[in-house]
């Protein structure tokens, strides 16, 4: 017997010389919805979008409908279109509408190819679809090259990859006697496009709540040590560099490795690189799960989780993370204890007010990245709920 089924259907009609009309239906065991989109044929712009629910789960699902208007005017052939739909429609309105809209717009692009081929056949009746497509591909490849050149030119100079160099040795901590507390997991914009917080705002907030330091751990991003030094001088605050690297086994917080790793790396390859650099690896939010159910629903137990191959490749587990549920943090703590691995804390802040929610308290003062790695290897630290402990909750 089927446990779940989803059917999606799209139809594209060329209404007139300038407009495509796309009708999409999504019907599954949980939801039933449909949308109608009109798209400008020449500029690929979304001209109108309407949606209708037939079945949904919460009394507030209909609130998604007016928010669909936020993508009017978007070009469906833009490189970041799907991401924008996930972010704008998926996060603000409803991810099922986002899924259906992407399906409709993909169908529209396929329909345009057919439309262009039919037009070309008026001039060349023997033109085969495959030959027409090969010609189109050459053109789009050229436009992709132009687009990537534009993106490269628009990157800020300080987003470029740095050479390895120690940073932060001239900025001492301030509270060695009561332990030394660092938020080991922080994301800044634009280094992490998913973050909304600039480094200046995050640092100011970290200082305000009395943290001793923060680690900038942007996704697959190596901070320029000179930039870090400048930030430290400007704010008189210890800023350390880390990196949250996406592997085939999930996200890993890495310290002490300056190599810029792009794409998805296997956990084994990353381990080799980090060991060669004498760095440190932490499994970030190792049990970050789902929206409406948790690991227990799947029959996952700490004993079963301890057998995961991932945990043989890391030095510690992030057992307090600000983006997971208390149950998931508790589960990570149990697994770390069972494996006799150290547990760290980090806010995973993407917004200014999140910094310091969780942190790691070390027993002694840390002044630079080399000392951070040494301290992490010492296992003389604890994960703490910093904001709650210090009345900033």
């Amino acid at each position: 017997m089927l446990k779940y089924a989803r059917n999606k259907m799209t139809n594209v009609v060329i209404k007139d010389a300038g407009t495509l009309a796309v009708h999409g239906v999504l019907d599954d065991d949980i939801y039933s919805l449909e949308i109608d989109v009109t798209i400008q044929l020449s500029g690929f712009k979304i001209l109108s979008l309407s949606g209708k629910w037939h079945r949904y789960t919460t009394p507030d699902c209909p609130r998604a409908i007016p928010l669909l208007q936020d993508v009017i005017g978007f070009r469906i052939d833009d490189e970041g279109f799907n991401q924008a739909v996930h972010k704008i429609i998926g996060r603000k309105a409803c991810r099922h509408y986002a899924n259906l809209l992407i399906e409709c717009c993909d169908s529209a692009k396929e329909a345009v190819l057919i439309h262009k081929w039919k037009n070309a056949r008026k001039r060349h009746p023997d033109l085969r679809f495959a030959d027409f497509i090969n010609g189109e591909k050459s053109e789009s490849a050229l436009s992709r090259v132009s687009a990537s050149i534009r993106v490269e030119e628009e990157r800020r100079p300080d987003e470029r990859i740095s050479t390895p160099k120690e940073a932060g040795s001239d900025v001492p901590g301030t509270k060695p006697s009561s332990g030394f507390t660092i938020d080991l997991h922080v994301h800044t914009y634009p280094a992490s496009p998913c973050s909304s917080a600039t480094e200046d705002d995050l640092i100011q907030e970290a200082k305000r709540i009395g943290l001793d330091a923060i680690c900038l751990t942007d996704h697959n991003f190596v901070w320029d040590p000179e930039r870090i030094r400048a930030l430290q001088g400007k704010h008189r605050f210890l800023i350390l560099r880390g990196n949250e690297i996406t592997t085939d086994q999930g996200d890993i917080l890495v310290f002490g490795l300056d190599e810029d790793i792009k794409g998805i790396i296997s956990i084994e390859s990353l381990r080799q690189k980090v060991m060669a650099a004498s760095g440190f690896m932490i499994a970030a939010h190792p049990f970050r799960g789902f929206l409406t159910f948790d690991a227990a629903h799947l029959g996952m137990t700490p004993q079963k989780a301890m057998q995961k191959a991932l945990f043989k490749q890391v030095d510690a587990l992030e057992a307090l993370n600000g983006k997971v549920t208390p149950k998931e943090n508790q589960f990570a703590h149990q697994v770390a204890e069972g494996l006799n691995l150290p547990a760290t804390g980090g806010s995973d802040a993407h917004e200014v007010f999140e910094v310091g929610q969780y942190a790691t308290r070390f027993s002694k003062q840390i002044q630079n990245e080399a000392e951070l790695v040494e301290a992490l290897k010492s296992d003389n630290y604890e994960a703490i709920a910093y904001r709650k402990e210090n009345g900033f909750d």
Binding site: R6, K8, T58, D60, A64, C94
Partner: protein, 165 residues
């Protein structure tokens, strides 16, 4: 002239439990230009992809003709938060067939939704009990806050509740 369609697509994704420890999720795509199927098998309880296979029976995209080898890259990936970046990244290394990654993602989403369906079966009938049910769900899973229109500030579920700490 009547409004005849230029393009039509049907995509069906389904999940079945083939034994106590294994789910099979399949995505079938049939449209004016493409006919394809992708299937993944997932091991419980950690939702790890143990097997992946697929075939593009009809496509104009040359890159999509041989996908079996590329699909092996997703074996070992765990279905869950952050999986899209991993699946797209792994497959982009070995194939330019973007539809393949999308079909794998649809299979994975379907697995998650099959468990969501189980959770939603517990929703009570009366509006008052329903509201309490969602409030409890939100308390247990703070990630739901502002995740969509239904869980955004101002909705009947969230009201003027501040962001969870």
């Amino acid at each position: 002239m009547p409004d005849l369609t230029t393009f039509t697509r049907n995509r069906c994704t389904s999940v079945e439990q083939i034994d106590d420890q294994t789910l099979r999720s399949s995505c079938r795509l049939q449209d004016t230009l493409t006919d394809a199927v992708v299937e993944v098998q997932v091991k419980l309880p950690d939702l790890e992809i143990m097997h992946a296979a697929g075939e593009f029976r009809r496509t104009y995209r040359g890159a999509c003709l041989n996908t079996s080898e590329a699909l092996q890259k997703v074996i070992g990936v765990r279905i869950g938060s952050g999986m899209l970046k991993i699946i797209e990244g792994l497959l982009a290394e070995v194939t330019e067939c973007e539809e393949l990654a999308f079909m794998v993602e649809e299979c994975c989403h379907a697995v998650i939704l099959s468990f969501t369906k189980g959770t939603l079966k517990d929703i009570p009938e009366s509006p008052r009990d329903k509201k309490e049910f969602y409030a409890k769900m939100l308390k247990e899973n703070t990630r739901l806050y502002n995740r969509c229109a239904a869980f955004a500030p101002g909705s009947s579920i969230i009201g003027d509740m501040p962001p969870p700490k």
